[in-house]
Amino acid sequence: MQDLKAIANRIRRRDLQAVFEAGAGHIGGEMSAIDILTALYFHVLDVDPTAPKKPDRDRFVLSKGHTANALYVTLAEAGFIPRDEVATFLKPHSRLNGHPNCTKVPGVETNTGPLGHGLPVAVGMAKAAQMSGASWRTFVLTGDGEMQEGSNWEAAMAAAQFKLDNLTLIIDHNRLQQGARLADTNNLAPIPPRFEAFGWAVVEIDGNDMDAIVGALAPEARVAGKPKCIVAHTNKGQGISFMQDRVEWHHKVPSREQYEQAMKELEAAAQ
């Protein structure tokens, strides 16, 4: 567990640096999701950087594709792409653009960017495994604002109808979307009873607590015959005091001063 926390801290720092250097990115939603990404890639997913397309791999879909850079840094840390390549984020002709591209970046399963695409695709993946009697699992991470897209609810119905207990949806519930709080835009609360009513098994966790994440993602936590929804209560900007829970950090870029302070805070947390 200490290891996972250390890895997450490293990913946060690399992510911060890349966004600062590129002068663009979606840092708030990256910080909120990095603990979940770390648990998935370093504890849960059966994936192999040397064989990123092996047929029986677990599938992970980053539906909130605007936080691509957190995925790139995680993939680099996990050995799917060279570590140095992160420095090319958003540079002309880099394969690391602002949203992940599966035709270019090993480890990416499907292209995202428009919100509300990951869950339907993940339902198809999980359905394929079910049809072939395969044991690999499918995980998808969405934003909470993203759940306002109707496509998600069409997919939620399908997943329950198909009894996809090999599918796990993690909602990064950081309470903020692009321009405002969910509560002031199009509130989804309460999320758990909505998913229960749609026929899903639901758990709520602290999505920035590594033990809680690992526990919720354990294979034993499967509920037979039901897709699983993990409502992960997170903080947008988690780990950086002045970004935390502040809407403007959806895609603001830190000044040099802010960058240095943020880095100091993350370094202190690593001790």
């Binding site: 590129a22 594709g65 602002g98 604002g145 306002q148 109707g150 692009q178 199009n186």
Partner: protein, 316 residues
Amino acid sequence: MNAETKLYDCRDAFVGTLEALAEANPEIVAVCNDSVGSSKLGGFRDRWPDRLVNVGIAEQNMVGVGAGLANGGKLPFVCGAACFLTGRALEQIKADIAYSNANVKLCGISAGMAYGELGPTHHSIEDFAWLRALPNLPVIAPCDRAETAAATRFAASYEGPLFLRLSRVGVPDILPDDHEFALGKANRLREGSDLTIIANGVLTHRALAAADLLAGNGIEARVLNMATVRPIDEEAIGAAAADTGAILTCEEHTVFGGLGSAVAEVVVRGRPVPMEILGVPGIFPPTGSANFLLDEFGMSPEGIAERAMALLKRKA
């Protein structure tokens, strides 16, 4: 364009005009999808919080709601990133807006490749093709601040749906401040008899710069700003073919089905002349800013001029 030429983000002209119109007409409402910031609707929201309908991240719902608001007597300006507004909600645009003749103004913000490095999911370089295939939906891509403001005023006065394609990429002033927008009418920005360059949106100022370069080589290009892609200005295209004998089109759009295709449809029916269509060459663009990508795809002033010279070799 010299280094001092001032560049403007046309979203400012759009919202400035929209707010002026909204002041005079209380039925004007804005509809958006968590896009208050990216559509620059903050000022509108502060002035008329009750007249801003933010449906959240839900474009299909946004367009449907727009149609319902129009039915209920409102004059909705539906504002969202062009890629999601047109791509995600295309069937709503077809059935609820165009086919139902809902008096809704669809405002596609940051169209073309304005989102640059965010990549092909965020580029809106298919919208001319998608939308000009629909009956009853004028498609308009202004080239500068004055035309953006004029087209916005026109949108409010026009009875029926239309699509305004707006960019955030900086462009210089081209048309006079008091420019009046006329639907389906091109503006002749430069006279010439050797060929005609037709452009719109962020390509118009590049086309003018290309014409300057050509003039340096003794080639006189007519330049048409053709903001309206549908209904297209058949008269201006016919005259360009007859008078200049060669047509080069430039657009921030795929070469499949956009401005160039619309012009070619007229040219082949009337008076076939050699043509070249400059645009995104039918690929998902690589990583890069909008201006970088335009240059990359041969739409720098030099690239356009070069294509024009090649075209002239084919002229009878």
